[in-house]
C-alpha cells in the first residue's frame, strides 16, 4: 500500500463516514449512503487539495468508483505503487 493510496482511503472514509476497511477500488456511489453529488464534489476537491492537482469538471463527472479516482490521479502524475 503506498502512502498516496492510504491518503485516498482516508479521504473517502472521512468524507463518507465509513470505515477505512470498506474502501475498495470497486466502491461506487450507489453503495454508500453519503456518496451524493455534493460529497462527490467534496471528494474530488479534497483529493485535488491533498495531491496538489486540479480535476476538470469532465474528470470529476467521469469518476464512477474509487478505482476511477485513483486512475484519474495517476494520469496527473500521482504515484500509486
Amino acid at each position: 500500500m503506498s502512502a498516496n493510496r492510504d491518503k485516498v482511503v482516508e479521504i473517502i472514509s472521512t468524507l463518507l463516514e465509513i470505515p477505512e476497511s470498506h474502501v475498495t477500488d470497486d466502491l461506487a456511489p450507489g453503495a454508500v449512503e453519503h456518496w451524493d453529488s455534493i460529497n462527490h464534489l467534496n471528494i474530488c476537491v479534497a483529493a485535488g487539495q491533498e495531491f496538489g492537482v486540479d480535476l476538470s469538471a469532465e474528470e470529476m463527472a467521469g469518476i464512477g468508483r474509487v478505482g476511477d479516482l485513483v486512475k484519474t490521479l495517476a494520469a496527473k502524475g500521482v504515484e500509486f505503487k
Binding site: E10, T14, S56
Partner: protein, 616 residues
C-alpha cells in the same frame, strides 16, 4: 484544566491558518465528540439561508466555530429559498428556532445583471433592480424580525472580479463598484433598522483572498458553489468573528514573547546593541510586527510581555532602544523572569482582572507554545512562523480582537489597564482598605441618556460577561431607543481617579414599572471592581429613583456560567430575594433613607451630567 480544553487547543493549533477540506472535516468529527461544557464551548443554533449551494461551507463553518469557542448546530436551508424561509412562520428555519441566522445572499445570484450584464443597463434600470431586491430582502427580514429575536448576520456584497466597464470602471460616475458600494450602504442601514443585525464583511475577506481566487468558476458553474474551496476557511472566519464579537468572546489581551518575536536574536546573548530591530531586513520584520501590535493597542487591546529574560535588560530595550515601536507605556504587565510563562500569564490575568480565556499568546518557540497549550489551554497560543517576514500577517489574520464598533474608550483602554496594574501595586502598599480607597481619589461622573456615550454603552452590553446581572446584549440602536423612551433611563458611569481616566466603566438601564424602578441592566467593567464603585452606582440609582417617586428598587439577576461569582451582589448591598423562577431572580429593597442599599460608601465623589437625547 480539562482534557477537553487541551484537545480543542491542540486541534486548533494543528489546523493552522489554511487547513484543507480533509483536515477541516477530520477535525470536525473529533470536535463533535467533545463535551461542550468541559471544552468551554458555547452552543448556538444557527440557520443558514444562502442564495447558493452552501453545503461545502458547513464543515469549515462548524470547525472554525469550534476553534473560536462555539459549537454550531446548523440548519442549512435549500439554496435560493431565503425569502420563503424568512417569511414562512412554519419554515424549516423557524422550526430550527435559530439563535443566529446567517443570510448569505450574494448579489451575483439575486441581481445577476449587476455583475454579468451591467453594460446594457440604464441608470433607471439599475435603480429598479436594486429597489426590487431591497424591497424583497428588506421586507422578508422585517417580517422575520417581528417573529424572532435571533441575531441576524448579513453578508455584504463583493466587488466584481473583472469590472464590466474595463478601464473606465476607475473613472465612470456610475461604476459597478459604486452601485455595489451603494448596496452595501443600504445593507448597513437595514441592519441598523431591524436591530440585532450585523454585517459579515465578505467584501473585505474576498479582497483579502483575492477576487480571482475567491470566485471559483468551475464550482460555481458545476454546483452553484461559487466560493473557492481554498477560501472556505476564510469565508467561515468572516462569519465566526462576528459571532465572537456579539457573544462577548472577543480576545482582549495580546501577550508577546521578546527574543525572536518582538526583536531578532537573544537579548541575553547579543546584548541591546546586537538585537535585530530597525529599518532593514530582518530588523524591519520585527518592527512590522510591533506596529501591528500597536495598532491593536490603539483599538483597545491590552498588551502584555511574557519573556524568559532579566527584567532590567528587557526594560532597557523598551525604554532606550531607538527602533522600538512598543514602549513601556503600552505594556500593561511585564511577565519577565525565569518562571514558566503560563504562571506569568495567570498572574497578569489576576492583576488586570481579565479572564485567561481572553488572552492570545505569541511565541516563536515550539516548546513554550506547547507548554502554554498544556498548562493554560484556554489561552489562544500562536507559534510564530519560521520566517520573520511572515510575522505581521500571522498576527493580523487572527481576527479575534474584534469590537463591533470602536469607541473613544477603546483607543485608550490599553493605557487604562496599565494604570490598573499600578493601582494593584498601590493596593499592595496600602495597609488597610480605607486608606487605599481614599488614596485613589475617585470621582464618578454619571450621565443619563447621553447619546455621546451610546457606542460605549452598547459595547459594554456586548462585551461584559462577568459583572453583568442580566447579560442582555444590545446594539447602538437598541440603546438609543431606550434613551428616547419615556419609561426608561440609560445611565453610564465614568470613573476618574488619581492615576487617570478609566472611561465609562459602568452602565445601568432602569425601567419604571408602576412603583418599581427595575434594573433591567446593571453591569460593571471588572477592572474597577473591589473599589466600592458597584455599591456606589446601585445606591445612587436607588436615590435617583426615590427622588422620582418610585417606592421600590428591583434588581433582576439572570445567572450565566460567567456571572455566578456576582450572584450575591444584590444581597451584599442589602436587597432581599423576592422570587426565583430558576432563570431569573428578583431582588428588591424599599426606597427610603433607612435602606442599607442606598448607603453611599463615601469614597467616591459623584457628578451628574444630563444627556441631550431627551428633554424631560
Amino acid at each position: 484544566m480539562s482534557d477537553e480544553r487541551r484537545i480543542l487547543a491542540d486541534i486548533t493549533a494543528e489546523l493552522g491558518a489554511t487547513p484543507t477540506a480533509l483536515a477541516t472535516t477530520k477535525a470536525q468529527r473529533k470536535l463533535d465528540a467533545l463535551n461542550a461544557d468541559a471544552a468551554g464551548l458555547l452552543e448556538r443554533r444557527v440557520g443558514v439561508l444562502a442564495s447558493f449551494t452552501f453545503d461545502m461551507l458547513v464543515p469549515p463553518l462548524r470547525t472554525r466555530a469550534y476553534t473560536d469557542g462555539f459549537r454550531f448546530d446548523v440548519y442549512n436551508a435549500p439554496y435560493g429559498q431565503y425569502l420563503q424561509e424568512l417569511v414562512n412562520p412554519a419554515s424549516g428555519l423557524a422550526s430550527h428556532q435559530p439563535e443566529i441566522v446567517l443570510v448569505a445572499v450574494r448579489l451575483q445570484d439575486a441581481c445577476p445583471e449587476l455583475y454579468y450584464g451591467f453594460n446594457s443597463l440604464t441608470a433607471e434600470r439599475i435603480d429598479a433592480i436594486c429597489g426590487q431586491f431591497q424591497a424583497d430582502l428588506g421586507g422578508a427580514l422585517r417580517g422575520f424580525r417581528s417573529r424572532s429575536h435571533a441575531r441576524i448576520l448579513l453578508t455584504n456584497y463583493e466587488q466584481p472580479v473583472y469590472a464590466s466597464l474595463g478601464l473606465a470602471e476607475a473613472t465612470a460616475e456610475l461604476s459597478q463598484g459604486a452601485v455595489i458600494g451603494r448596496m452595501n450602504a443600504w445593507l448597513r442601514s437595514l441592519a441598523d433598522e431591524i436591530g440585532a443585525a450585523y454585517i459579515v464583511d465578505i467584501d473585505q475577506v474576498a479582497a483579502r483572498c483575492g477576487h480571482a481566487r475567491w470566485d471559483n468558476a468551475k464550482m460555481r458553474l458545476l454546483a452553484r458553489a461559487p466560493i473557492a474551496p481554498d477560501c472556505a476557511w476564510d469565508y467561515a472566519g468572516a462569519v465566526t468573528r462576528v459571532v465572537r464579537a456579539i457573544s462577548g468572546r472577543a480576545k482582549k489581551v495580546l501577550a508577546l514573547d521578546c527574543d525572536n518575536t518582538l526583536w531578532g536574536g537573544v537579548l541575553g546573548d547579543v546584548g541591546i546593541e546586537g538585537i535585530h530591530l530597525g529599518h532593514d531586513y530582518p530588523g524591519n520584520a520585527f518592527r512590522a510586527l510591533q506596529m501591528r501590535a500597536l495598532e491593536l493597542f490603539h483599538r483597545g487591546v491590552v498588551l502584555v510581555v511574557a519573556s524568559k529574560n532579566e527584567l532590567s535588560n528587557v526594560k532597557q530595550v523598551f525604554e532606550t532602544h531607538p527602533e522600538m515601536v512598543l514602549r513601556p507605556e503600552h505594556i500593561a504587565f511585564f511577565g519577565v523572569n525565569w518562571e514558566p510563562k503560563p504562571g506569568n500569564l495567570r498572574r497578569a490575568a489576576e492583576v488586570l482582572n481579565l479572564g485567561l480565556d481572553s488572552f492570545v499568546f505569541l511565541d516563536d518557540h515550539e516548546v513554550e507554545c506547547a507548554m502554554m497549550r498544556e498548562m493554560a489551554p484556554e489561552v489562544l497560543t500562536v507559534q510564530m512562523p519560521g520566517d520573520p517576514a511572515d510575522y505581521e500577517h500571522t498576527l493580523a489574520r487572527l481576527d479575534c480582537f474584534d469590537n463591533l464598533t470602536i469607541s473613544a474608550e477603546d483607543r485608550q483602554r490599553g493605557a487604562m489597564y496599565k494604570q490598573e496594574a499600578e493601582r494593584a501595586e498601590l493596593r499592595q502598599g496600602a495597609t488597610d482598605l480605607d486608606t487605599f480607597y481614599h488614596g485613589l481619589e475617585m470621582r464618578a461622573i454619571m450621565a443619563r441618556n447621553d447619546a455621546a456615550g451610546l457606542a460605549r454603552a452598547a459595547q459594554l452590553t456586548q462585551r461584559t460577561n462577568q459583572f453583568n446581572m442580566t447579560t442582555i446584549r444590545r446594539t447602538e440602536s437598541d440603546v438609543l431607543a431606550l434613551m428616547n423612551a419615556a419609561d426608561s433611563d440609560v445611565v453610564t458611569m465614568r470613573l476618574v481617579d488619581r492615576f487617570g481616566d478609566n472611561g465609562i466603566v459602568g452602565m445601568a438601564i432602569v425601567t419604571r414599572e408602576g412603583d418599581d424602578a427595575v434594573l433591567d441592566t446593571f453591569l460593571m467593567s471588572c477592572r474597577v471592581l473591589g473599589r466600592t464603585v458597584e455599591q456606589t452606582l446601585v445606591a445612587w440609582l436607588g436615590r435617583e429613583a426615590m427622588a422620582r417617586g418610585a417606592k421600590r428598587l428591583v434588581g433582576r439577576y439572570i445567572p450565566t456560567k460567567k456571572n455566578t461569582p456576582f450572584g450575591k451582589f444584590y444581597e451584599s448591598v442589602g436587597m432581599t430575594l423576592e422570587s426565583d423562577s430558576g432563570e431569573t431572580q428578583l431582588w428588591v429593597c424599599p426606597l427610603d433613607e433607612a435602606s442599607p442599599t442606598l448607603r453611599l460608601p463615601g469614597y467616591i465623589d459623584i457628578e451628574v451630567q444630563e444627556g441631550a437625547t431627551r428633554t424631560s
